[in-house]
């Protein structure tokens, strides 16, 4: 009993949870209650969650405990408490997308990723805060409240999946799901000091993910270790008949691939990703790169010449797709409807003006403009051509190297309020993550030490691989973690 009291049930890995359940040293219900207790205590400061699903969580926990008692086989994530970004649907619970326009929306079905997690025994604790409709890089665009970085509560957790990242970093969940359209998993993972992964476009079903930019949207996991990330990806990856963009390609055993080490692999370092970098971030990334040399990798300089055009390209494509996807919020079938209106058209306009926050309106405006008559060729078509060039850069690079290493974000977590008044500056913070999104290749951000100056903020390193080479990415990330890369100094 003493060991149980001393053990912090919120600071475990997925493997430790499996062992605890198997040896009957803890129950799924105890794990769940330990998390709700910690959320009660800590989340008033962090504000990672928008809503909790305590009934659903406890019911699932009791199911797991019954299976343990009966000696039945357990799923891969049995008893693992999970947080889910509020843009992903879980039947019977609210899914607000951190938007006033969906404040009272209750999901009528489960996202495939949520269903797969629960079938594997995971316990959904609640839904996490984010930038409204996943549009932002700081979680300050939430229609409800900002989330605070657990490493320094005066700073942003990154975004848009800031709540999911902060929840895992503050031990308010073991792992979580986020969505990544231009860096919304990798960047908050970097700013919060945890691991976060976006698989190849099509690797994880988006059924039940509220659409933002359909050619760029992904669901992916956050975890405090590469192994936990691999274990979640294993469960959520794979073909789903309900998402025609999900790839019909077998899912390899990611966990088995983890411990191969990295000797003999070729790591590419693109010079374009080191311009305009915060010097402290640069120091950490350089030390991380040196570590790959010590692991027996050959580190080679490479060039991705169209990198500088990625932000412009990305913000044309994502706003164009967003303006189309968000046309559905019209106050008719679900969500908020403005009570005052003269006629139908007036009802649409007032509903949308009052329901959406400023960043969402800005992006709808931009997207509508770039798609409007007379501008389509100059903006949208041009951007799709540049997207081809950016993708080609990566494909050529991967002819020569196995993985590419870059910083995840040009700077560590910034202060809440520091960038909110300048949307373009906020967009430029996505410079190192949007490229992989445009190319559809997988990427992971892993911790790479902390800055030298107070308050010693986490720095993230991004690893990229070719399409459907997630196993290689996880293998290299795991070798980096094992060699102490998360704490380089």
């Amino acid at each position: 009993m003493d060991s149980k009291i001393a053990m912090d049930l919120t600071a475990l890995t997925i493997d430790q949870i499996r062992d605890l359940l198997a040896s009957r040293k803890a129950t799924a219900l105890e794990l769940t209650e330990a998390h709700f207790a910690r959320i009660e205590q800590k989340d008033k400061d962090v504000r990672a969650y928008l809503s909790l699903c305590s009934e659903r969580a406890r019911e699932q926990a009791r199911n797991i405990d019954r299976k343990v008692a009966a000696g039945e086989p357990l799923g891969l994530l049995a008893g693992v408490p999970v947080a889910v970004k509020d843009v992903i649907l879980a039947r019977g619970t609210r899914a607000t997308c951190a938007s006033r326009i969906l404040e009272n929306y209750v999901a009528p079905y489960d996202a495939t990723a949520v269903r797969r997690l629960e079938e594997a025994g995971a316990i959904i604790l609640g839904k996490t805060n984010c930038d409204e409709f996943a549009m932002g890089s700081s979680t300050e665009n939430s229609g409800f409240y900002p989330t605070h970085n657990p490493n320094d509560l005066t700073r942003v957790p990154g975004g848009s999946s800031g709540g999911s990242a902060a929840a895992v970093a503050a031990n308010l969940a073991i792992v979580s799901l986020g969505s990544d359209t231009g860096g919304s998993i990798r960047q908050p993972a970097a700013l919060c000091g945890i691991a976060g992964m976006m698989g190849t476009y099509g690797r994880v079903s988006r059924f039940g993910l509220v659409a933002f930019a359909s050619s760029l949207d992904h669901i992916g996991p956050f975890g405090r270790s590469v192994r936990d990330v691999a274990r979640v990806l294993q469960v959520i990856a794979g073909r789903d008949p309900k998402d025609s963009t999900s790839a019909d390609i077998p899912v390899p055993d990611y966990v088995q691939a983890l411990d191969a080490g990295a000797p003999g692999l070729k790591v590419g370092v693109p010079s374009e990703y080191f311009k305009g970098l915060n010097p402290e971030t640069g120091d950490n990334i350089q030390k991380g790169i040196d570590l790959f040399g010590k692991l027996g990798c050959s580190v080679v300089p490479i060039s991705l010449p169209h990198t500088d055009y990625a932000i412009a390209c990305y913000y044309i494509i994502c706003t164009a797709e967003a303006s189309s996807n968000l046309a559905r919020y019209d106050g008719v079938r679900y969500g908020f409807r403005s009570p005052e209106h003269d006629d139908l058209r007036d009802m649409y306009k007032k509903t949308r003006d009052r329901g959406f926050g400023p960043e969402v309106k800005r992006r709808i405006m931009l997207g509508t403009h770039v798609l409007s008559s007379g501008y389509y060729d100059a903006y949208y078509l041009k951007a799709q051509k540049v997207r081809t060039l950016i993708t080609r850069d990566f494909l050529e690079a991967f002819d020569d190297v196995d993985v590419i290493v870059t910083p995840t974000s040009p700077l560590p977590a910034f202060k809440i309020g520091e960038k909110v008044d300048d949307p373009l500056q906020m967009y430029l913070a996505d410079i190192y993550t949007v490229t992989a999104s445009l190319a559809g290749i997988p990427g992971i951000s892993v911790p790479c030490g902390r800055t030298k100056c107070e308050p010693h903020l986490p720095v993230g390193m991004q690893l990229l691989a070719k399409h459907f080479d997630e196993a290689r990415l996880l293998q290299v990330a795991q070798a980096f973690e094992k060699a102490g890369g998360f704490e380089v100094a």
Partner: protein
């Protein structure tokens, strides 16, 4: 500044957004700065480049096609459960057809 207030109001109309005067004033310089920034793409000659219309993957011949079999779908009450206004099994909207 290339963008005008009139342009902002025109786009807002296309997007079904009733912007307030304050919002127009706020968005105008912000949208203008972003549009100016994205002109950067014009530095690239893309006359010989195909647009990337789809993020494809090497899969079956027709990955998007499935067999056309009826499957369970939403019941009426589920489809209406989030409606701001409903009646007699329908979504209710403000009157769109005028009576004589």
């Amino acid at each position: 500044m290339a963008l005008t207030e009139k342009d902002v109001r025109y786009v807002a109309e296309l997007a079904h957004l009733e912007l307030t005067a304050d919002e127009v004033t706020e968005f105008l310089p912000q949208l203008d700065a972003i549009l100016e920034y994205i002109q950067k793409l014009n530095e690239l000659d893309t006359t010989q480049v195909e647009p990337m219309a789809q993020v494809t993957y090497p899969a079956a011949e027709n990955p998007a096609l499935r067999s056309d079999r009826p499957q369970p779908t939403f019941q009426q009450d589920e489809a209406l459960m989030n409606a701001p206004e409903q009646g007699a099994g329908y979504f209710r909207v403000p009157r769109v057809i005028e009576r004589e």
